[in-house]
Protein backbone atom coordinates (compact mmCIF):
# COMPACT_ATOMS: atom_id res chain seq x y z
CA UNK A 1 0.00 0.00 0.00
CA UNK A 2 2.85 2.29 0.79
CA UNK A 3 4.23 1.70 -2.67
CA UNK A 4 0.96 2.68 -4.21
CA UNK A 5 0.73 5.81 -2.15
CA UNK A 6 4.23 7.09 -2.81
CA UNK A 7 3.69 6.44 -6.50
CA UNK A 8 0.50 8.43 -6.27
CA UNK A 9 2.31 11.32 -4.67
CA UNK A 10 4.95 11.13 -7.37
CA UNK A 11 2.32 11.31 -10.06
CA UNK A 12 0.50 14.20 -8.41
CA UNK A 13 3.68 16.21 -7.93
CA UNK A 14 4.71 15.53 -11.47
CA UNK A 15 1.42 16.78 -12.78
CA UNK A 16 1.75 19.89 -10.66
CA UNK A 17 5.22 20.50 -11.95
CA UNK A 18 4.09 20.09 -15.49
CA UNK A 19 1.17 22.40 -14.99
CA UNK A 20 3.56 25.10 -13.81
CA UNK A 21 2.10 25.42 -10.38
CA UNK A 22 3.91 25.88 -7.13
CA UNK A 23 3.63 23.38 -4.31
CA UNK A 24 0.34 24.08 -2.59
CA UNK A 25 -1.56 22.93 0.42
CA UNK A 26 -2.73 19.71 -1.20
CA UNK A 27 0.80 18.49 -1.80
CA UNK A 28 1.77 19.67 1.66
CA UNK A 29 -0.89 17.48 3.18
CA UNK A 30 0.07 14.71 0.79
CA UNK A 31 3.68 14.88 1.87
CA UNK A 32 2.74 14.88 5.53
CA UNK A 33 0.59 11.81 4.95
CA UNK A 34 3.51 10.06 3.31
CA UNK A 35 5.63 10.79 6.34
CA UNK A 36 2.97 9.46 8.65
CA UNK A 37 2.61 6.30 6.56
CA UNK A 38 6.32 5.72 6.78
CA UNK A 39 6.24 6.16 10.52
CA UNK A 40 3.37 3.72 10.76
CA UNK A 41 5.33 1.31 8.62
CA UNK A 42 8.22 1.63 11.03
CA UNK A 43 6.09 0.93 14.05
CA UNK A 44 4.43 -2.02 12.37
CA UNK A 45 7.76 -3.45 11.32
CA UNK A 46 9.10 -3.26 14.84
CA UNK A 47 6.02 -4.91 16.20
CA UNK A 48 5.98 -7.86 13.80
CA UNK A 49 9.73 -8.20 13.85
CA UNK A 50 9.61 -11.53 15.60
CA UNK A 51 7.86 -13.18 12.70
CA UNK A 52 10.69 -12.84 10.23
CA UNK A 53 13.96 -13.54 11.94
CA UNK A 54 15.92 -13.85 8.73
CA UNK A 55 15.35 -10.37 7.45
CA UNK A 56 18.46 -8.25 7.48
CA UNK A 57 17.38 -5.76 10.09
CA UNK A 58 20.01 -3.15 9.54
CA UNK A 59 19.40 -3.08 5.82
CA UNK A 60 15.66 -2.90 6.22
CA UNK A 61 15.67 -0.19 8.84
CA UNK A 62 18.44 1.60 7.01
CA UNK A 63 16.11 2.00 4.06
CA UNK A 64 13.24 2.97 6.31
CA UNK A 65 15.16 5.58 8.25
CA UNK A 66 16.61 7.02 5.07
CA UNK A 67 13.13 7.33 3.64
CA UNK A 68 11.93 8.95 6.84
CA UNK A 69 14.71 11.51 6.66
CA UNK A 70 14.33 12.18 2.98
CA UNK A 71 10.63 13.05 3.08
CA UNK A 72 10.70 16.09 5.38
CA UNK A 73 13.94 17.38 3.94
CA UNK A 74 12.65 17.09 0.41
CA UNK A 75 9.42 18.69 1.53
CA UNK A 76 11.22 21.68 2.99
CA UNK A 77 13.39 22.01 -0.11
CA UNK A 78 10.38 21.79 -2.37
CA UNK A 79 8.24 24.28 -0.51
CA UNK A 80 10.91 26.94 -0.33
CA UNK A 81 10.89 27.07 -4.11
CA UNK A 82 8.00 29.00 -5.49
CA UNK A 83 8.12 28.00 -9.12
CA UNK A 84 7.03 24.80 -10.77
CA UNK A 85 10.31 23.14 -9.83
CA UNK A 86 9.17 22.81 -6.25
CA UNK A 87 6.76 19.99 -7.01
CA UNK A 88 9.37 18.55 -9.34
CA UNK A 89 11.61 18.10 -6.31
CA UNK A 90 8.75 16.45 -4.50
CA UNK A 91 8.15 14.17 -7.47
CA UNK A 92 11.77 13.08 -7.54
CA UNK A 93 11.82 12.45 -3.80
CA UNK A 94 8.52 10.56 -3.85
CA UNK A 95 9.75 8.39 -6.71
CA UNK A 96 12.88 7.61 -4.75
CA UNK A 97 10.85 6.74 -1.69
CA UNK A 98 8.71 4.46 -3.84
CA UNK A 99 11.83 2.65 -5.01
CA UNK A 100 13.04 2.37 -1.42
CA UNK A 101 9.77 0.89 -0.32
CA UNK A 102 9.92 -1.67 -3.12
CA UNK A 103 13.39 -2.55 -1.92
CA UNK A 104 12.18 -2.90 1.64
CA UNK A 105 9.46 -5.16 0.42
CA UNK A 106 12.00 -7.35 -1.33
CA UNK A 107 14.18 -7.53 1.75
CA UNK A 108 11.39 -8.50 4.08
CA UNK A 109 11.26 -12.26 4.20
Amino acid sequence: MLIGYSLLLTAVSLILALRNRAAGRVTLVGTAVLLVLLLVQMVVSIVVWGQSPETDGILFFGYLITALLVVPLAGAWAYAELTRWGPAVLAAAAATVAVMVVRMDQIWL
Binding site: I58, T66, L73, A78, E81, V89
Partner: protein
Protein backbone atom coordinates in the same frame (compact mmCIF):
# COMPACT_ATOMS: atom_id res chain seq x y z
CA UNK B 1 3.22 52.74 9.50
CA UNK B 2 4.39 55.16 12.16
CA UNK B 3 1.13 57.09 12.01
CA UNK B 4 -0.76 54.29 13.72
CA UNK B 5 0.90 54.96 17.03
CA UNK B 6 -1.88 57.46 17.69
CA UNK B 7 -4.44 54.68 18.36
CA UNK B 8 -6.13 54.29 21.80
CA UNK B 9 -3.91 53.60 24.76
CA UNK B 10 -4.73 49.93 25.28
CA UNK B 11 -3.86 48.93 21.76
CA UNK B 12 -1.09 51.39 21.22
CA UNK B 13 1.58 49.39 22.99
CA UNK B 14 0.76 46.08 21.33
CA UNK B 15 0.17 47.68 17.95
CA UNK B 16 3.47 49.49 17.92
CA UNK B 17 5.25 46.42 19.26
CA UNK B 18 3.71 44.29 16.52
CA UNK B 19 4.54 46.84 13.89
CA UNK B 20 8.10 47.06 15.01
CA UNK B 21 8.31 43.30 14.85
CA UNK B 22 6.86 43.32 11.37
CA UNK B 23 9.18 46.08 10.35
CA UNK B 24 12.11 44.16 11.71
CA UNK B 25 11.03 41.01 9.92
CA UNK B 26 10.66 42.94 6.72
CA UNK B 27 14.08 44.47 7.11
CA UNK B 28 15.52 41.04 7.75
CA UNK B 29 13.87 39.66 4.65
CA UNK B 30 15.20 42.50 2.59
CA UNK B 31 18.68 42.00 3.90
CA UNK B 32 18.73 38.28 3.19
CA UNK B 33 17.33 38.89 -0.28
CA UNK B 34 20.08 41.41 -0.86
CA UNK B 35 22.63 38.97 0.41
CA UNK B 36 21.32 36.28 -1.88
CA UNK B 37 21.27 38.61 -4.83
CA UNK B 38 24.82 39.67 -4.18
CA UNK B 39 26.10 36.23 -5.01
CA UNK B 40 24.45 35.65 -8.31
CA UNK B 41 25.72 32.12 -8.12
CA UNK B 42 22.89 31.42 -5.73
CA UNK B 43 20.86 30.90 -8.86
CA UNK B 44 22.48 27.50 -8.75
CA UNK B 45 19.77 26.12 -6.58
CA UNK B 46 16.76 27.91 -7.98
CA UNK B 47 14.55 26.84 -10.82
CA UNK B 48 15.67 23.60 -12.41
CA UNK B 49 18.75 23.76 -10.24
CA UNK B 50 16.45 22.94 -7.38
CA UNK B 51 15.71 19.54 -8.79
CA UNK B 52 19.37 19.00 -9.55
CA UNK B 53 20.29 19.75 -5.96
CA UNK B 54 17.49 17.54 -4.75
CA UNK B 55 18.64 14.61 -6.84
CA UNK B 56 22.20 15.06 -5.67
CA UNK B 57 20.89 15.16 -2.14
CA UNK B 58 18.93 11.97 -2.69
CA UNK B 59 21.95 10.26 -4.18
CA UNK B 60 24.06 11.47 -1.28
CA UNK B 61 21.57 10.03 1.19
CA UNK B 62 21.39 6.75 -0.65
CA UNK B 63 25.16 6.59 -0.88
CA UNK B 64 25.60 7.35 2.81
CA UNK B 65 23.15 4.64 3.72
CA UNK B 66 24.77 2.17 1.43
CA UNK B 67 28.27 3.01 2.54
CA UNK B 68 27.46 2.88 6.25
CA UNK B 69 26.03 -0.53 5.75
CA UNK B 70 28.78 -1.87 3.53
CA UNK B 71 31.84 -0.33 5.09
CA UNK B 72 30.91 -0.79 8.71
CA UNK B 73 29.68 -4.32 8.43
CA UNK B 74 30.96 -6.09 5.39
CA UNK B 75 34.11 -4.38 4.36
CA UNK B 76 36.05 -7.60 3.94
CA UNK B 77 33.70 -8.99 1.39
CA UNK B 78 34.54 -6.57 -1.38
CA UNK B 79 36.99 -3.93 -0.17
CA UNK B 80 37.61 -2.36 -3.54
CA UNK B 81 33.98 -1.96 -4.47
CA UNK B 82 33.06 -0.65 -1.06
CA UNK B 83 35.91 1.82 -1.01
CA UNK B 84 34.62 3.10 -4.30
CA UNK B 85 31.19 3.44 -2.77
CA UNK B 86 32.68 5.48 0.06
CA UNK B 87 34.49 7.69 -2.41
CA UNK B 88 31.37 8.25 -4.46
CA UNK B 89 29.39 9.02 -1.30
CA UNK B 90 31.90 11.73 -0.41
CA UNK B 91 31.69 13.22 -3.87
CA UNK B 92 27.91 13.29 -3.84
CA UNK B 93 27.83 14.91 -0.41
CA UNK B 94 30.34 17.47 -1.62
CA UNK B 95 28.28 18.23 -4.71
CA UNK B 96 25.09 18.60 -2.72
CA UNK B 97 26.66 20.91 -0.17
CA UNK B 98 28.23 23.02 -2.88
CA UNK B 99 24.96 23.38 -4.75
CA UNK B 100 23.16 24.40 -1.59
CA UNK B 101 25.79 26.95 -0.59
CA UNK B 102 25.72 28.53 -4.02
CA UNK B 103 28.56 31.00 -4.23
CA UNK B 104 31.46 31.39 -6.58
CA UNK B 105 33.86 29.12 -4.74
CA UNK B 106 31.36 26.35 -4.24
CA UNK B 107 30.40 26.66 -7.89
CA UNK B 108 33.94 25.85 -8.94
CA UNK B 109 34.19 23.03 -6.43
CA UNK B 110 30.93 21.65 -7.75
CA UNK B 111 32.30 21.68 -11.29
CA UNK B 112 35.33 19.73 -10.11
CA UNK B 113 33.08 17.30 -8.27
CA UNK B 114 30.93 16.73 -11.34
CA UNK B 115 33.94 16.13 -13.52
CA UNK B 116 35.27 13.68 -10.97
CA UNK B 117 31.94 11.89 -10.86
CA UNK B 118 31.69 11.71 -14.62
CA UNK B 119 35.16 10.20 -14.83
CA UNK B 120 34.41 7.91 -11.93
CA UNK B 121 31.23 6.51 -13.33
CA UNK B 122 32.76 6.02 -16.77
CA UNK B 123 35.96 4.42 -15.52
CA UNK B 124 34.39 2.28 -12.85
CA UNK B 125 31.53 1.36 -15.13
CA UNK B 126 33.93 0.18 -17.77
CA UNK B 127 36.05 -1.64 -15.23
CA UNK B 128 33.04 -3.45 -13.89
CA UNK B 129 32.64 -5.02 -17.29
CA UNK B 130 36.26 -5.68 -18.14
CA UNK B 131 37.41 -6.70 -14.65
CA UNK B 132 34.38 -8.11 -12.91
CA UNK B 133 36.52 -9.91 -10.37
CA UNK B 134 37.21 -6.60 -8.68
CA UNK B 135 33.56 -6.11 -8.00
CA UNK B 136 32.36 -8.99 -5.91
CA UNK B 137 29.55 -6.71 -4.85
CA UNK B 138 28.10 -3.71 -6.59
CA UNK B 139 29.13 -0.18 -5.96
CA UNK B 140 27.23 2.91 -7.00
CA UNK B 141 29.20 3.27 -10.21
CA UNK B 142 29.16 -0.37 -11.19
CA UNK B 143 27.82 -1.01 -14.65
CA UNK B 144 27.45 2.72 -15.15
CA UNK B 145 25.09 3.09 -12.22
CA UNK B 146 22.64 0.55 -13.47
CA UNK B 147 21.53 -0.28 -9.96
CA UNK B 148 20.42 3.31 -9.55
CA UNK B 149 18.52 3.67 -12.78
CA UNK B 150 21.58 5.04 -14.58
CA UNK B 151 21.10 8.26 -12.67
CA UNK B 152 24.77 8.32 -11.62
CA UNK B 153 25.71 8.16 -15.28
CA UNK B 154 23.52 10.97 -16.48
CA UNK B 155 23.57 13.28 -13.50
CA UNK B 156 27.14 14.63 -13.63
CA UNK B 157 26.66 15.70 -17.22
CA UNK B 158 23.40 17.42 -16.46
CA UNK B 159 25.12 18.98 -13.47
CA UNK B 160 27.95 20.28 -15.62
CA UNK B 161 25.53 21.66 -18.16
CA UNK B 162 23.63 23.48 -15.43
CA UNK B 163 26.76 24.81 -13.75
CA UNK B 164 28.15 26.10 -17.02
CA UNK B 165 24.84 27.75 -17.73
CA UNK B 166 24.91 29.50 -14.36
CA UNK B 167 28.48 30.57 -15.04
CA UNK B 168 27.45 32.09 -18.34
CA UNK B 169 24.58 33.86 -16.70
CA UNK B 170 26.86 35.32 -14.06
CA UNK B 171 29.91 36.26 -16.11
CA UNK B 172 28.66 38.86 -18.59
CA UNK B 173 27.26 40.89 -15.74
CA UNK B 174 30.56 40.83 -13.93
CA UNK B 175 31.99 43.22 -16.45
CA UNK B 176 32.70 46.57 -14.79
CA UNK B 177 29.54 48.48 -15.55
CA UNK B 178 29.14 49.62 -11.97
CA UNK B 179 25.74 49.01 -10.41
CA UNK B 180 25.33 50.62 -7.05
CA UNK B 181 24.13 47.77 -4.86
CA UNK B 182 26.20 45.00 -6.41
CA UNK B 183 29.50 43.76 -5.10
CA UNK B 184 31.55 41.52 -7.36
CA UNK B 185 30.53 37.92 -6.88
Amino acid sequence: MMEQQGTPAGDAATTSARLTREQRAEARAQRSAARAARTRYSAIHTGPGRVLTAIYGLLAFAAIGRVSYQVLLKFDEAPFAYSLSALSALVYILATVCLVIGNRVSHHIAVAACVFEALGVLVVGTLSFTHPELFAHDSVWSRFGQGYGYVPLVLPFIGLWWLIRIQRRVSPRNRPTPRTSQTPA
